[in-house]
């Protein structure tokens, strides 16, 4: 979701509008605060909160759309999504969803949007420009994670209580396959080369790696941290670098990010961040990674090259999702 194809042109235009000229490459980091009903906007250069957007109730999943001009957030308790302008931070419009929308994802072409509705065993497909529901696809109990193949052909949805990754044809909405994963799957993420799907299991404590072509489980990432009980290792957010070589996995109440070598599936390093870390977002240049730490109300900043946590930034209450705009 943080991978976006917007060119430098927009980045420049946006930064000139909103920030000083010296910050030509500053990105805007949008963090949804689940308990506060706000989005905190952070400047990636100064690493300070520059604006707070008031949202609907219980903002969770957050993505960019319309070539980076929009940020779309699920207002879960209002049973809808909301669109805000990434330059002016003004409210643009509402988008419909099913009950309790949680995680949206865009088709690689930019439209439509697919959103999981946690309370209704459905994935809703929405035309973001017309603001209409195209259709609903029935899936398992408590749909959650949404992954889109880089070629735009396959959507992967996880269902938390059914413990499956559902492979869905992104155009016909036909259910192609259902792959059993560990307990309470949360996030589904394709490797950017399109070869694998990584599915985190919050209660199972693992990440299942599925071959995207055969839809067979080809490996599992296990985590072990000295001094932390197994019960506290609860993988949620997964982000993979553009070269498909490194994966970053947020481990929930273990308060750490695991850095995983995608070739060996071994953890290279654990990075200590804030409390109950859930979701992750790269800057478009992949130099920084932002993490949402729900219980400590902050965002940790990771320097991707050195694998060091460089700063924590206070945001709103219960930060949930994060996306970075050029």
């Amino acid at each position: 979701m943080t991978r976006n194809r917007q060119g430098l042109v927009f980045a420049l235009a946006a930064s000139m509008l909103a920030f000083t000229a010296s910050n030509a490459l500053a990105y805007k980091v949008f963090v949804s605060n689940e308990k506060e009903n706000t989005i905190s906007v952070i400047d990636s250069e100064t690493l300070a909160v520059v604006h707070t957007i008031k949202t609907g109730n219980r903002p969770r999943g957050i993505i960019l759309a319309n070539e980076g001009k929009w940020v779309i957030v699920c207002a879960s308790d209002d049973h809808k999504m909301q669109v805000f302008d990434t330059s002016t931070f003004e409210y643009v419009k509402d988008l419909p969803s099913g009950p309790d929308p949680e995680l949206p994802i865009l088709h690689t072409s930019g439209n439509p949007l697919y959103v999981s509705n946690e309370d209704d065993n459905l994935v809703t497909i929405v035309d973001i420009f017309k603001g209409t529901i195209i259709t609903d696809v029935p899936v398992g109990v408590e749909p959650e994670g949404m992954g889109m193949s880089p070629d735009g052909k396959v959507l992967v949805n996880t269902s938390e209580t059914t413990n499956m990754a559902h492979f869905i044809d992104a155009h016909t909405y036909k259910n192609l396959d259902n792959v059993l994963v560990d307990n309470r799957p949360r996030v589904a993420e394709f490797t950017p080369d399109g070869k694998q799907v990584w599915v985190s299991a919050e209660i199972g404590g693992t990440v299942t790696v599925i071959d995207a072509a055969t839809r067979k489980v080809v490996g599992k990432v296990n985590f072990e941290i000295q001094g932390i009980t197994k019960d506290a290792i609860q993988p949620v957010g997964v982000r993979i670098t553009k070269d498909s070589k490194k994966a970053f996995v947020a481990l929930g109440p273990a308060n750490r990010i695991a850095v995983v070598d995608t070739a060996t599936l071994k953890v290279e390093k654990y990075l200590l961040v804030g409390q109950r870390v859930w979701n992750l977002g790269f800057t478009p240049d992949e130099k920084l990674l932002f993490t949402t730490n729900g219980t400590s109300n902050d965002v940790s900043v990771i320097d991707v090259a050195s694998l060091k946590v460089t700063k924590s930034i206070k945001v709103g209450r219960y930060p949930w999702g994060v996306v970075v705009a050029p």
């Binding site: 009950p99 609903d136 209580t161 009980t229």
Partner: protein, 457 residues
Amino acid sequence: MMVFTGPGLRLARSVFCRPHRSVRRGFALLVAFVGVLAASAAVSVAVHAQAPAPAEQPAAPPAPAAAPAADAANSAAEGDILKIRILMAREIREDRLPPLSLLDIPPPDDGVAGAKLAIADNNTTGQFLKQEFILDTVQSATAQELVAEVKKRVDEGIAYVVVDASEATLLAISDAIKDKDAVLFNASAPDEGLREEQCRVNIKHTAPSRSMLADALGQYMAWKQWRKWLLVIGPAPEDKAYAEAIRRTAKRFGHKIVEERVFNYDPGSRRSDGGFEQIQQQIPGFMQGAPEHDVVVVADEGELFGDYFPYRTWTARPVIGTSGLFATSWHPAVELWGGTQFQNRFKRLAGRLMRPLDYNVWMAVRSVGEAATRKKTGDGKTLIAYMRSPEFELAAFKGQKLTYRSWNGQLRQPILIATAKIHVTVSPQQGFLHQLTELDTLGVDQPETKCTAFKNK
């Protein structure tokens, strides 16, 4: 709370609410629905426009055009579906007095609704794995009759039985089926003996034990530093058992019971137009002259008087135990760890709030479903062995995996500390450490267990 805005959503609900009950139908509708959508975008828009009709007549198929596809899917899948039967056995306990508060009157489907939700949840996964879970229920007010009926069903091949019964009845059922490849899930009895001296290899306990409940409360009191307890014990045998668990907890976590008082109370008739005037006099009188204490711990599982204590004590002290602040496996107001969706699903199915018994039963039926999903079979021997293995884990809206203790079959679980209205905290509390899992700081732990039946099994 739920607002459904578009006709499209209404269609979706009518398609997907029902199939929980029937896998074949669910699968057929899914195929049918997808079939319609696949036709073209224009067609799917048209379907949405017609949506209110099927919503009003829930039995109708989503669209006539889809019917042949549905039939084809039906017959093709027919032979392949594995049916897994789960029995719920309820002992109707007529000797129980009605509760003090009208809010606490148990609904007629207490526990059974939890089983139905778990069956629906199992079947949603099952439809993708060609497994269908079916619930049977037997109930009786006579223990012998219930034992005989369960034995008959187990003889006929049922391997999984969820039991809501007294300790004695549960043990009788256990002994009656001990040579069979069948397992019982104790969803209601908190008695320590069932997990200790009287433990049986063929019983798993999804209901927390009294010692787990008391420890959960005691840990929070330690966190609060409310160390001095005045213990008030009711006349029923279970009140004495609860008081015993409280004494054990106090000793374990360094609390002091400054005095014990026995509240011998003849409840008389429950429903009357008056009575508060006398209770208002009676409770402070009873509590007069007590040594200095931080909290009043009420042991009243029989529900005779406990709820009369808060706000009526002689000195201004909080009430904990079986009333006031209490420990429980589930609470209808809990929204933690995805609980909101779980509560909503239950409300849609049962038309009421989820009670602890519903939750305990749900965990039992989901245990079978989880085992069947992982082992891809319904075979009793295989699934029972798997549920006993360290590989088994259950996700149950408690923020971490739940597992069965290998030495006595008790399900490890975080315990909610709550008032009647909302949870206050969840135990184990921070700082109570354990070498294997912090959940084993609640209740009798392996080194101290008196259960020997599981050794060499």
